[in-house]
């Protein structure tokens, strides 16, 4: 039975259900246990599962990520929480040099079933170091899967799938949207990794986005509808593997595409999508694919900088008009 719950509650429900189902699943990270999670995602989990399965770590991202990798190689299924993906940079050696390569280096003898999760992207006026998006960083690496979603039902279904996945999964949430509510099925609910969702059907243009940029994208689609432009909106949900089929099918129908991506433009998710479209739907395009990214700069603190930096509905509408050759 679906009920409306917040993103943080959906994530917690996924972890609790999987930990009840499988004794080898455990959570470790900074403030996850006694503090109930920096963003209250793991609230109450220590009480149910105890300190061996809900583990407060010191501030040592490289160390505890590596402990997760070793535990995964030795039969456990760790969920490693990063307070934000910005801090996961300290642990990239373990994610990229180790988790992603364990299966390959050992020629299949050791797998690394681990989930690295936490919020990615900007979250208000947090300035340069706390505002970065990491989807394209991680999605560049074979051996990893990358999920980035904020719809609470997706978050529950995809996190459960990620925990059960035999390979390392980077799971990206949103600090600003932990309180964002949506209908979420109770009990067993799985969403397949690697499948995008069509959030809104349309005929004139395809808008592709993910994570919290879905909100301005949906807002733009509504504004465009008032102007007589019918936008189809795709929520990627999974970045790696990318659901190319859903994107290409939509573009073949609408003949135009705008990609809305909070990550930086250079060699990012939006660049990959534009590549895929020109490769597989070149003859269907009535206009070049363009993208609305965060600005190709470091994000400064002031509110006016945040406004300038991020994609928003207005910028998206402008981009759609550009590919539609409309005023």
């Amino acid at each position: 039975m679906p009920r409306k719950i917040a993103l943080r509650d959906a994530l917690r429900e996924a972890m609790i259900e999987e930990m009840r189902r499988d004794d080898t699943v455990f959570l470790l990270g900074e403030e996850v246990a006694q503090y109930n999670g920096a963003y209250k995602v793991s609230k109450g989990m220590l009480d149910e599962f105890g300190p061996m399965r809900v583990v407060d770590t010191p501030i040592a991202e490289l160390g505890f990520a590596g402990i997760g990798v070793g535990a995964a190689m030795n039969g456990l299924k760790p969920i490693v929480e990063f307070m934000t993906w910005n801090f996961a940079v300290l642990a990239f050696d373990q994610i990229i040099n180790n988790a992603a390569k364990t299966l390959s280096q050992s020629a299949g003898q050791y797998s690394c079933p681990i989930v690295f999760r936490g919020p990615s992207g900007s979250a208000g006026q947090l300035a340069q170091q706390h505002s970065q998006s990491f989807e394209s960083w991680m999605a560049n690496t074979p051996g990893l899967k990358v999920i980035s979603c904020t719809d609470p039902a997706d978050a529950k279904g995809l996190l459960k799938s990620a925990i059960r996945d035999p390979d390392p999964v980077c799971f990206m949430e949103s600090e600003l949207l932990y309180g964002y509510e949506g209908e979420v099925p109770e009990g067993e609910y799985l969403v397949e990794i690697g499948k995008a969702a069509v959030r809104r059907e349309g005929t004139d243009v395809t808008l592709v986005s993910y994570n919290k940029m879905m909100l301005p994208t949906m807002e733009a689609a509504e504004l465009l509808e008032k102007e007589g432009i019918s936008a189809e909106v795709i929520d990627l949900r999974t970045i790696r593997p990318l659901d190319r089929k859903t994107i290409i099918e939509s573009v073949k129908k609408t003949n135009r595409c705008v990609v809305i991506d909070e990550s930086w433009p250079f060699a990012g998710v939006s660049a990959e999508i534009a590549y895929e479209i020109q490769k597989s739907a070149f003859d269907y395009l009535d206009a070049p694919v363009i993208r609305v990214n965060s600005a190709d700069v470091n994000l400064g603190y002031a509110a006016s900088f945040v406004e300038e930096f991020l994609p928003n509905a207005e910028k998206i509408v402008r981009a759609v008009k550009e590919v539609s050759y409309a005023k």
Binding site: F26, M52, V55, T57, P58, A60, L62, G63, F64, A65, G66, I67, G68, V69, G70, A71, A72, M73, N74, G75, L76, P78, D93, Q94, N97, N98, L103, S104, Q105, S106, A107, G108, Q109, Y110, S111, P142, G143, K145, P166, D167, G194, P241, L242, R244
Partner: protein
């Protein structure tokens, strides 16, 4: 709390067997044990000498770091532990892997990049893995195996076993932040990890003295109250005894233990390193205490085996290594299509 810094490099000399002249007068272990140590050390030595020759012939490529001189460490660890205990180490790992039970023919085939290698030609010299032997690799990133080994050990505690994980690293890795983060958590959570620093004196070309103000590596555990010892790594007996003591401590639930094992690599850091940063006399001084020769002498002088029996062991190891090379040479290269396997556990839509 047991935080005393014991120095067994000198203590072991009197309590066990090693004497100044390298001969053994009193033996504390059985004939079988000495022959096992000797055979294993000789097997590792001959394997690597042959591997270096194959490298010169360009049959082995890539990076290749040999263990020659350090064999007593692998021998002493293995005799003190069981195969249920895990081991993880860095890229200078042929000896550790062979000690664990990796067959020399699969090891040699891996160096040759063949499909019959221990990891099917996917890892090469730096990345042997053997699940059946609880051997967790072969890590190519200096120090990365330290948190991983800590996690392997955490999983043993989690599962409620009495097993431990040996986490090996060199004096170079001892300066990585990963070590300090791992040790802090391992002591806080009483993780059953046995940390072994194989101190061979050089982080590539940089001597221990040039890497830190603190050059006595046995002191590193002190800030975590980690029980620590310094051990003579040229003696399999000394290593065996220290590892046995450490294992007993760890299995009793008291948490980690740290051994700084003083050893020496006779060759350069890798095949491309002529090792000009050290004096030839330094190398010679260690070679005079060579664990293979010293153990052979002890066996003969104490009548544990005859010269004829030693020759049989040498011939047998020689034949085994020759067979390993033949196996490697005759094995096929992996199919190019195998590049796409083992990236994910399930079918994956790779980009093209």
């Amino acid at each position: 709390m047991n935080t005393a810094q014991k120095d067994t490099t000198t203590a072991q000399r009197s309590s066990t067997t090693a004497k100044k002249n390298g001969s053994a007068k009193e033996l504390n272990y059985s004939k079988e044990q000495y022959l096992e140590w000797y055979t294993l050390m000789l097997r590792i030595r001959r394997f690597e000498e042959r591997a270096l020759m194959a490298y010169g012939q360009q049959d082995v490529r890539g990076f290749c770091h040999v263990y020659i001189g350090q064999e007593a460490v692998a021998a002493g660890i293995e005799s003190a532990l069981t195969k249920d205990d895990g081991i993880v180490t860095a890229y200078r790992q042929h000896g550790t892997a062979i000690g664990r039970g990796v067959e020399t023919k699969k090891a040699m085939a891996e160096l040759y990049g063949k499909a019959t290698g221990i990891v099917k030609g996917k890892g090469g010299s730096m990345h042997f893995f053997s699940r059946e032997n609880n051997y967790y690799g072969g890590n190519g990133i200096v120090g990365a195996q330290i948190p991983i080994g800590t996690g392997i050990a955490y999983a043993e505690k989690y599962k409620g076993t009495k097993n431990l994980c040996v986490v090996m690293f060199g004096d170079g890795a001892a300066r990585q932040g990963a070590l300090w983060e791992s040790w802090n958590m391992a002591m806080t959570w009483k993780i059953p990890a046995l940390y072994i620093c194989e101190n061979n004196g050089y982080a590539m070309g940089t001597s221990v003295e040039r890497t830190s103000n603190v050059t006595d590596l046995s002191k590193l555990g002190a800030s975590f109250d980690m029980p620590s010892e310094s051990v003579d790594g040229m003696s399999p007996e000394a290593v065996h005894e220290a590892v046995s003591r450490a294992a007993e401590h760890i299995r009793s639930g008291k948490g980690p233990y740290y051994l700084e094992i003083k050893t020496y690599r006779y060759k350069g850091h890798s095949v491309s390193d002529p090792a000009r940063y050290r004096e030839k006399d330094e190398v010679k001084s260690y070679q005079q205490r060579d664990p293979v020769k010293v153990t052979e002498k002890a066996i003969l002088e104490n009548g544990l085996a005859t010269a004829e029996e030693i020759k049989e062991i040498k011939d047998s190891v020689k034949a085994e290594i020759a067979e390993a090379v033949k196996f490697a040479e005759e094995s096929p290269y992996p199919d190019g299509a195998d590049l796409y396997t083992d990236n994910y556990s399930t079918p994956y839509p790779f980009l093209t």
